[in-house]
């Protein structure tokens, strides 16, 4: 894991991808330490707010020393973020969390699965594992990479980006694109086979992936989300239940911000 700091990042671009979903590129030295599946805390400047908003890193451009954040507007903090224009500065805290264990995917058939606002962190993951991009944080390559992404409707944001690095299978809740249903339905219907899953999405989806992986005898790494305060492992706000006793508190609570957000699904007690 790289260094951690709170520092200014310069907005390079921002656009809306779908209703309530925004695509933001930030220039920051922290980009050089960013690993797929890690996240940053982004600070609103509104004085009524206190806490950084945890947002996953969607893509890294090491040549431009930039990170891409694709986020959903959920409250006043993220609403403020949409107002930032190229040339503006934002305060970020990073790089946080562990990220996906790419080494566990070396030479294997990998499926990256995302649902809703869990889709973005899988883009850099697919990019790294595909070996189809230059200047990556690792030199681990998977035997194959397929992306299975779940959306609510035809607003399939980032789909074109995934196609650059992997096959793409889409599931939509309303059936407007791809398989009607969820990502697990799409796996079955489109006969996607794999050895390793790397996933991020809503809790019901992650629970289904854990069950699916157990049934198929494969490994799934899932990225969890929880209300967070410090982001650095001190406040113990964002815990998840684990099968084994955790390192920090010796109970059964791993800290999502520092022990995660990515866990082997087998270790999590849903």
């Amino acid at each position: 894991m790289g260094r951690k700091e709170k520092s200014e990042a310069k907005v390079l671009s921002q656009k809306m991808l779908a209703e309530g979903i925004f695509d933001l590129w930030l220039e920051t030295d922290l980009a050089m330490d960013a690993h797929p599946g890690q996240f940053v805390g982004v600070y609103p400047t509104n004085k009524s707010t206190l806490l950084p908003r945890p947002i996953s890193i969607c893509e890294v451009d090491r040549e431009k020393s930039a990170i891409r954040l694709v986020y959903r507007v959920v409250g006043t903090g993220t609403a403020e973020f949409t107002l930032y224009q190229p040339g503006d500065y934002m305060m970020i805290l990073g790089i946080l969390g562990n990220g996906f264990p790419l080494d566990k995917a070396a030479g294997k058939r990998v499926v990256v699965m995302g649902g809703g606002i869990g889709v973005p962190p899988l883009l850099q993951t697919a990019k790294e594992l595909s070996g189809k991009a230059a200047n990556l944080s690792s030199n681990v390559t998977a035997a194959s990479v397929a992306a299975v992404m779940g959306y609510r409707n035809q607003k399939t944001f980032l789909a074109e980006d995934f196609r650059k690095y992997s096959e793409l299978v889409i599931a939509t809740e309303d059936g407007s694109v791809g398989t009607k249903g969820n990502v697990i339905d799409a796996m079955g219907q489109q006969n996607v086979e794999c050895d390793v899953i790397m996933a991020c999405g809503p809790m019901p989806m992650l629970k289904a992936i854990k069950a699916y992986a157990e049934e198929k005898g494969i490994t799934a790494y899932i990225s969890l989300e929880e209300r967070m305060a410090c982001g650095v492992g001190a406040c113990l706000g964002c815990i998840c239940k684990t099968k084994e006793v955790d390192e920090h508190s010796h109970v059964h609570n791993a800290r999502i911000c520092t022990d995660g957000p990515v866990f082997d699904a087998e270790d999590i007690d849903f």
Partner: protein, 301 residues
């Protein structure tokens, strides 16, 4: 310029401490700040055995602050001594260990275990956490119970004892007096203020525990008032806290009567806050030609 302050014979290089529970044992924040620059590290509450804490969600933001209901998750005294105290041995700062328990016996066990630990300069007794059902706040909301637990802890404690008081009481002065009468060497205040937030879209409480303790800049005026009232009720030193974000806030607490101050929730906003508060105090002293920080204590009558 002198920024050194003294509490119960313990000398702190400056009055800036960390609020228990907001700083771990310093490990997580050592990436951001030089712990050697702080007056003291006040560690996260530790009990005799590991505590799992409350279900999630445990934290939520509110206007000007946050609510938490962590429920004092901690690894227990054995791991704390082996790992956390060991870690703190590397640093030239004072160490104040926050102690929690469900019964008086729990507290006494931890206090006795810490008695022989030379790295521990003081003990802070948490009788004011609003988020655990047994113990903790039950001792901090009744002056007789507070007197009883304080005097029993004082009988076995080898280090000076700070009683951490709850703001969720009718009279902070009465509670401060009870702690002093029972032999407390100092008091610290305020712990968090009990609050509640409802997510109207989900029609659910924002926290699994329903209520949580409020902290952050929005509670500062309440905290300053209580430090002022307590300082006029007792002669023992006071460690003031509640929403401190910068040096000016710290000076305000000192003028209200605090000997030292602690930075809590603002560590989450800016991990460099503690060091900035130290610098801010020095800047204030330079600007107003204050030779000794102790001159400012309780200066407003």
């Amino acid at each position: 310029m002198n920024t050194q302050v003294e509490i119960a014979g313990v000398k702190f290089k400056n009055p800036v401490m960390t609020g228990s529970g907001t700083f771990g044992s310093g490990m997580e924040y050592a990436d951001f700040v030089d712990l050697n620059k702080l007056g003291a590290v006040v560690t996260k509450g530790v009990a005799n055995v590991p505590w799992p804490g409350n279900p999630v969600p445990r934290v939520t933001e509110v206007y000007g602050g946050m609510l938490n209901a962590i429920g004092l998750q901690n690894p227990g005294i054995d791991v704390f001594i082996e790992r956390d105290l060991e870690f703190l041995k590397k640093y030239d700062t004072k160490v104040i260990v926050n102690v929690c328990g469900k019964s008086v016996e729990d507290y006494l066990e931890v206090v006795e275990r810490l008695g022989d630990e030379s790295r521990v300069d003081m003990l802070e007794i948490n009788v004011s956490c609003p988020n655990v059902k047994e113990g903790a706040i039950a001792f901090g909301q009744n002056k007789d119970a507070l007197f009883d637990i304080t005097s029993r802890i004082k009988k076995v404690a080898k280090q000076p004892v700070i009683m951490k008081l709850s703001p969720n009481v009718t009279s902070i002065a009465e509670m401060a007096k009870a702690a002093e009468a029972a032999g407390a060497d100092a008091i610290s205040l305020i712990n968090t203020i009990t609050g509640m937030k409802i997510d109207i879209h989900k029609r659910k409480f924002a926290l699994a525990n329903k209520t949580g303790g409020m902290s952050g800049p929005a509670i500062k005026p309440v905290a300053v008032r209580m430090v002022y009232e307590a300082s006029h009720a007792v002669k023992i030193p006071i460690i003031g806290m509640g929403g401190i974000a910068n040096g000016d806030d710290a000076i305000e607490f000192i003028m209200a009567g605090a000997t030292a101050v602690a930075v809590g929730a603002m560590n989450f906003h800016d991990p460099y806050t503690t060091e900035k508060v130290v610098e801010g105090i020095e800047n204030y002293m330079t600007r107003y030609n204050v030779e000794d920080i102790n001159e400012l204590r309780g200066i407003v009558e």
